[in-house]
Symmetry: C2
Subunit: 298 residues, 2 copies
């Protein structure tokens, strides 16, 4: 297991963590001031300053993209809605490619209408069919431009409105069905990153009794991203009360050890939704704290 | 599948649903006014009016107890804490027995201290060991008085503070490890209720992609209780914003069909924690609504 205590080479900042800091250029500059080597930007933040400006900033500061957030949101009530989702996902793949992101993260979507507060269906099976079909179609396009897709299982409390893929086991079942890996013979080189894999966010999966086994099952080829934050006790809001690493109850290093035992050697990407705490603090304080906690609690 | 549309014979009221109505005697009287045949009382409500008074009320109104809430909360930081939990669980078994409850529901507990807001450990593995050992010891005692125990897997959002058993699969793994069923030969009678089984609450498990398969795995012998309410979109509070059946997105009848296909023929127990809505309404309105929704949405 890599030693993170001495530096922050393997720390990536998901730009949602700095939502309080303003536009993406200011967020990138804050990261650069602290020697951050990688970020994972959100599409709305990219669109707000433009893709070309974002690409220029990323080049200027020599940043890697540990991921691009996000594609997905596949379920819809009709053919037109599903087609619109596929179009949007192709654009997301293109944007990820033009920014040279390591993967496009997929938050797959839940019941149609639920994210806007008015669910139009209760059929979780239909939603999961749309997700499977949507990933299959997006994967075909993503393959053509060599952009890996990372299914992010979300915490079950988001099953209705954000993602009806809620465990790594479920995500890996989808990966194996849609993108079976070639068998690797004894002595053969390890497989490269698969076209379809998973993003493991400790916030979403820490509770899972099968977590260690499913991370091992994923293996290096399917482990596309590792996101960290913490589960606060008490948690006051279902979406925006996520904690800084070390402030909650997740044994983050234990989970990281499982990923590394499975061959993962990428970034630990800090993604904290925190409307009442971290988003209200100065960007430099947030980044400095991420660095400190990356060394002590990740 | 039983037809619930014509009457409410199979409706049970979990008394937490009527927390706004005052003491347990008033709750029981409200249920009796509406021809409710079964309840599932909480220990704090029973203790407030006394066990003997509760038993007299139950007898007077000819009520069945679809369960007794609740035992569990096993994890602790030291031997004394674990021993105190076992003592308390033995008392809960005795109370359930003296009220002739169908089962004692177990909410197994999470990280020590977390329920009070100050977790003293992050070790989910240790908590799960305490849970296993605590259930094993309680089962031995419960067997001696023939009181079935029902492990209630709670939604993963309660893994830290309320229950570190979060899926039916995990609960059934515990059941099989601690209370293996005798093999039933072809043509032999179905097994009776096992000493150790599960309480399936749709609120906690509706999102689970393995739900149908695990209900089938449980079978009649392990299906000790069925709890209903609904998942609201949006959900504004992690604990106390549960919905009336039909007001949310859970396909309750679909899940009930899976239980009945597995042999379950007991009560549908309405358990709604709703501090800002149902707990503020008159008991008669709440019970009447439970009856109406039992017929139309369960």
């Amino acid at each position: 297991m890599r030693d993170f205590s001495g530096d922050h080479r393997w720390l990536s900042i998901n730009t949602a963590t700095l939502r309080g800091a303003g536009t993406l250029d200011r967020i990138v500059e804050a990261c650069a001031r602290h020697g951050i080597r990688a970020i994972s930007p959100w599409r709305d933040q990219v669109h707000a300053i433009g893709l070309e400006r974002t690409a220029a900033l990323v080049r200027e500061h020599g940043l890697a993209l540990s991921g691009y957030c996000r594609g997905g949101m596949f379920p819809a009530m009709d053919v037109a809605g599903r087609a619109a989702a596929l179009d949007d996902n192709r654009r997301a793949v293109d944007e990820a490619k033009s920014l040279d992101a390591a993967c496009l993260v997929l938050v797959v979507g839940g019941l149609p209408g639920a994210l806007a507060g008015t669910p139009k269906s209760k059929d979780l099976f239909a939603a999961r069919r749309d997700v499977r079909d949507g990933i299959a179609a997006t994967l075909e396009y993503a393959r053509s431009v060599a952009m890996p897709l990372a299914i992010e299982p979300l915490h079950p409390m988001y099953a209705a409105d954000r993602a009806c893929v809620n465990t790594i086991e479920q995500a890996l079942d989808l990966c194996e069905a849609l993108d079976p890996l070639p068998a690797v013979g004894a002595g053969a080189p390890s497989p490269a990153l698969a076209g379809l894999g998973v993003a493991v966010d400790v916030y979403h999966v820490w509770w899972d009794p099968k977590l260690e086994a499913q991370i091992a099952r994923a293996g290096r080829a399917r482990l596309h991203a590792f996101h960290v934050c913490d589960w606060l006790v008490p948690t006051k809001d279902l979406l925006n009360d996520r904690g800084m690493m070390g402030d909650g109850v997740i044994e983050i290093a234990r989970i990281r050890a499982w990923l590394e035992a499975a061959g993962f050697g990428g970034y630990s990407e800090v993604e904290i939704f925190s409307s009442e705490n971290w988003w209200k603090r100065p960007a430099d304080e947030v980044v400095a704290t991420c660095i400190e906690r990356h060394r002590s609690a990740v």
